[in-house]
Symmetry: C2
Subunit: 170 residues, 2 copies
DNA sequence: TTGGAATGTCAACAACGCTGACTTAAAGTG
DNA sequence: CACTTTAAGTCAGCGTTGTTGACATTCCAA
């Protein structure tokens, strides 16, 4: 089974032999876990004409109310045309409000309406429930490691946008 | 928010207060990390007319040579029409070979050709490199926790298909 | 004031999910 | 053998969400 060097005990020291098999399992785990991770929101959104892209937009508008389209663009890493299609439907449906900037009238500042906030809650509740269950099952130490690996995996560019950076240092 | 008493202890002990903010950061970390995680293969595949779906098919055919279409279907969790579209192009392009089953002639057993294996290598090398770097940066303890949380997050259905199950139980 | 950069919008296309209906071939079962 | 089920493949069509290209508006600086 390619057990390899049977360490990874708990030392924290050194070596860190990483066999291809171990890495492959990590890759596969990411695939299966991410599928499960997005399953609940996908289910909620399907049928309403919304999808994962709408979820992402709603999520980040909720976190940074008043963010501009351009800022959202750099966070989501898609083209403005792609984002615009999503934003247009959200605005039309009254979930997002788009206000012209006071300083710079080219900018549009985005806010969730009450209806938008309600949907956001529904979505994030479902996702948090799964995350909470996984965290509970895995234990607090595992959670720390989980977060650490994910952060190391992000592109440095994107890591800037990650909001879990508060107490990271100290 | 129904925060309630912080534990319905099923594991038994353990506080494990999980604030919404902590959970939200985990959710966001998954989003950013997964994006980075798929970025390298996506870059390699783009332009060849292939995409993430082709990558997934190639990955699992490589791991289970001779797997049937039906088995692949249940692993990937897509419809046969969706998978067939991908498989057809891979067979046409000579990356995958489809052999009629000897026992059951209805089945088609799938194998990577040399060209397919070469592409698989290219893809998994890129992905392993990123995974290895993240593992190294995070440390061995973190890796264990990472794996533990991801496994807890999977749907039980899908967890059956996860190949990293050898020594898990002790 | 004029030209360039930034911001946002519209149109069209590709990848890849989906449903539904259908065919072919082989296996299983009375 | 007739009947049903299973495995695989196909066709047609649609929805979400990426992409590029073209274009309008706004700001700012030469």
């Amino acid at each position: 089974m390619a057990e390899g060097p049977g360490n990874q005990g708990h030392g924290g020291e050194s070596l860190l032999y990483l066999t291809d098999e171990q890495l492959r399992q990590g890759i596969e785990a990411m695939f299966f876990a991410y599928r499960a991770f997005t399953a609940d929101p996908d289910r909620i959104l399907q049928g309403n004409g919304y999808g994962r892209a709408h979820h992402r937009a709603i999520h980040f508008i909720n976190i940074q109310p008043g963010t501009t389209v351009n800022n959202l663009l750099s966070i989501l890493g898609v083209t403005k045309q792609s984002l615009n299609r999503v934003l247009r439907t959200l605005v039309e449906d009254g979930l997002v409000e788009s206000r012209v900037g006071r300083m710079d009238k080219r900018e549009r500042h985005l806010y969730l309406t009450e209806a938008g906030a309600a949907l956001e809650h529904q979505l994030s509740d479902a996702q948090r429930a799964r995350m909470r269950a996984a965290y509970r099952q895995a234990g607090p130490e595992a959670v720390t490691g989980f977060r650490r690996v994910l952060e190391a995996m992000m592109d440095p560019e994107m890591h800037r946008h990650f909001s879990g950076l508060r107490e990271a240092r100290s």
